[in-house]
């Protein structure tokens, strides 16, 4: 699995997201309270840019009228038709087995000796790195 520098850490503060092109792949990177998640930036439905979607929490119910809210900010809704995707897995909420978008491992590193297409790699600071 190769590592690719996607962005500088300061470009994606908590609560924000960016869309980057890394080695020919469009990746949406979300920062949720300091934790990074990467999804292929194309909705499996009709290609909406997930990087432009609103993030919400996970709403579940064990009976009607009950709204168990958890994992605030970890579900992105596609801006086109509202499908929800889990930032941790890329799986849709309505049919996780059949409908999902690719999810990428993300790590933060100093970027030494790494190749970067879109980011000007200096010796200072940390980088957000996508692995595939």
């Amino acid at each position: 699995m190769a590592k690719h520098i996607a962005a500088k850490v300061e470009d994606i503060p908590p609560g924000t997201r960016v869309s980057v092109e890394v080695a020919g792949r469009k990746v949406a990177i979300f920062n949720v309270d300091g934790e990074y998640f990467g999804l292929r930036d194309a909705c499996p439905h009709m290609g909406g840019l997930l990087s432009e979607g609103v993030v919400i929490g996970l709403v579940e119910a064990n009976k009607p009228g009950c709204y168990n809210y958890s994992r605030g900010g970890e579900i992105v809704r596609c801006p086109w038709h509202g499908w929800e995707f889990d930032l941790r897995t890329g799986k849709s909420r309505f049919d996780p087995k059949r409908w999902k978008t690719h999810s990428y491992d993300i790590e933060v590193g100093d970027g030494k000796e790494m190749h970067a297409e879109t980011v000007d790699v200096s010796t200072e600071g940390d980088y957000v790195i996508v692995k595939f």
Partner: protein, 356 residues
């Protein structure tokens, strides 16, 4: 069009209350006095107007009175006519129209006792639905508990257009009582006339009214699913009566499309609406709205992705076909057997008990 196979189970036929006088012996003393003192008229509505073709087939219409009011004729024309093993009486009398909860409850009790005595006691092939007063769901639930003791009552009966969409929690005591007693809830075409019969206002012609019924069924089914009735009552079955059925897959595809994008509004809807309908919803076949080419009918039914959803109904004495040809063309023999026998038995546990 073929006949139903011998021994079919007719899931929708309509004995008629000849007049309010027939119910007087079955009303409590107070309500009998009130009907007379207040001069309460027949509880007829604009559903099934007497001369509209849908209300009675000409050869099933008596010289005087209402089609379906005479047991001898019903026995000959419907039971012997179709060779049915069991037939479920859905009595359409305007109990649901009343604005007073108490009188509606009294009439529901009277209609049920009248059915038991005048029909079920006299004809062993007949079964019936429990008429309830949705004006007060707690009373309705009490009536379900009262009548369910009699195993010849196999279902609860409601109308598709009531005060509000039937999925609302206001109605849940009815569904709770139905589930508790192992009874499906039959939802029949018709209205309590609290609202226009179309969502865009009152129509002008009967044809519009008839066509609008399936819109009401679509909205009602949507309400049952989105409000979570089937999540709350996982054992509940709902039977749509005189609903038509061709609309079902297309409507649920549409609902499913919106559910995918708006799932978090109704997180208890945990699978595609069509999957929920396959588990919980059944539909009777008359009147049917089928494609003009018989070959296309089975294709249409394939869209249900289930051969368990359709139930045979004669809809006697309403006029949708001639002779005993109550099965639409284009349904294979195997599917006819499912529709006429297996599916009704699977839907109505009390009928299953009666044959085993």
């Amino acid at each position: 069009m073929p006949y139903p196979p011998v021994g079919a189970i007719d899931c929708d036929l309509h004995p008629a209350v000849p007049s309010i006088k027939a119910l007087l012996p079955y009303l409590d003393d107070h309500w009998r006095d009130m009907v007379i003192q207040r001069g309460v008229h027949e509880l007829d509505s604009i559903s099934y107007p007497k001369n509209a073709p849908i209300s009675a087939r000409p050869d099933w219409k008596p010289e005087v009175g209402k089609a379906g009011q005479d047991l001898v004729r019903l026995r000959k024309e419907a039971l012997d006519g179709f060779g049915t093993k069991f037939a479920i009486c859905n009595c359409l009398y305007g109990v649901q129209l009343l604005y007073t909860e108490d009188m509606a409850y009294a009439f529901a009790r009277a209609v049920n006792d009248w059915i038991a005595t005048e029909w079920l006691d006299k004809e062993p092939r007949l079964r019936a639905s429990i008429v309830v007063s949705p004006q007060n769901p707690d009373y309705a639930a009490a009536e379900i508990d009262r009548m369910a003791v009699d195993k010849r009552f196999v279902q609860v009966l409601m109308l598709v257009m009531d005060e509000m969409p039937l999925g609302r929690r206001r109605y849940w005591p009815i569904y709770r009582a139905a589930e508790r007693n192992g009874l499906p809830v039959g939802i029949h075409a018709g209205s309590a006339y609290r609202h226009p019969v179309t969502s865009v206002g009152w129509p002008t012609y009967y044809a519009e009214d008839s066509a609008a019924q399936s819109q009401a069924f679509q909205t009602t089914l949507t309400s049952l699913i989105t409000e979570g009735v089937f999540a709350e009552f996982p054992e509940l079955k709902v039977v749509l009566l005189e609903s038509g059925f061709a609309w079902l897959p297309a409507h649920l595809w549409r609902l499913g499309k919106f559910w995918r994008g708006l799932r978090m509004e109704t997180p208890w809807v945990d699978r595609h609406p069509l999957e929920i309908a396959k588990d919980h919803v059944r539909l009777t076949i008359q009147p049917y709205d089928a494609p003009p080419r018989p070959d296309d009918l089975e294709k249409l039914i394939e869209h249900f992705d289930s051969d368990e959803m359709l139930l045979f109904s004669s809809d006697y004495p309403h006029w949708h076909y001639e002779g005993n040809n109550a099965i639409p063309d284009g349904i294979s023999r195997a599917l006819q057997n499912k529709i006429c026998y297996d599916n009704p038995l699977a839907t109505y546990p009390r009928l299953k008990e009666a044959v085993t």
